[in-house]
């Protein structure tokens, strides 16, 4: 999905508004993915998946930091996310379908917390951006 200049501006603006809440939203998105799509829990047998778990909070922060990096390198995501891409391909091997599920939950979370920024145009830019990150993270799978 090619990001237009308008998409890039929209994404950067949205991410700035998210500010220090990134970790909180990352954790919420993860909780939503475990609730809405229980098959995703199979990747976290070692986690305490109860609401408010420290492991979910820590992991949510990790996810958010990776997305912040992605947003900071919209013109070179494969380069910036190379290590993460390798990790997902060779070690974690999360089935590609799950990236769409987490992306959906991230959108639901952002729509919930930032309704005025989540215009239809903002929605499409964010969706495209998350799809691009997902593509990069699964690019070394085979």
């Amino acid at each position: 999905m090619v990001l237009s200049p308008a998409d890039k501006t929209s994404i950067k603006t949205a991410w700035e508004k998210i500010g220090s809440h990134g970790g909180e939203y990352g954790a919420e998105a993860l909780e939503r993915v475990f609730l809405g799509f229980p098959t995703t829990k199979t990747y976290f047998p070692h986690f305490d998946l109860t609401h408010g778990s420290e492991q979910i909070e820590t992991h949510g922060k990790k996810v958010s930091e990776a997305l912040t990096k992605a947003v900071g390198h919209l013109d070179d995501q494969p380069g910036a996310l190379s290590a993460l891409s390798g990790l997902h391909a060779h070690k974690l091997r999360v089935d590609p379908v799950n990236f769409k599920l987490l992306s959906h939950c991230l959108l639901v979370t952002l729509a919930n917390h930032h309704p005025s920024e989540f215009t239809p145009a903002g929605h499409v830019s964010l969706d495209k951006s998350l799809a691009n990150v997902s593509t990069v993270l699964t690019s070394k799978y085979r």
Partner: protein, 141 residues
Amino acid sequence: MVHLSSEEKSAVTALWGKVNVEEVGGEALGRLLVVYPWTQRFFESFGDLSSAHAVMSNPKVKAHGKKVLAAFSEGLNHLDNLKGTFAKLSELHCDKLHVDPENFRLLGNVLVVVLSHHFGSQIPLRSFSLCQKLWGHHEAP
């Protein structure tokens, strides 16, 4: 068939009671056409869909969105017999309109996003799986 406990049924009735079917329907369909523009292939007769603003203010999109959400509403009254309730609509979408079922998943997920957008703080997190079960794409556990 969707199995809901009586507590879940009450939660759904309470939420759906707040939904302005006309407005939310138009918004969900509009966002589907904006966010996944390839879905516009089914709506070539709808006129101007050239920009997000054009789509969201298009009267045919709003009218059709209202129709779609009214159908969802009807479904909520017949959760024990969704197949029967939607048999004619299902045939129409398959045999006449030739709509790839993936589009229903996309629309369902957009509806969940729109409900979160409008009522986010009023829908407890623990109800998210219920929302996906009813309207969005869900995986069987």
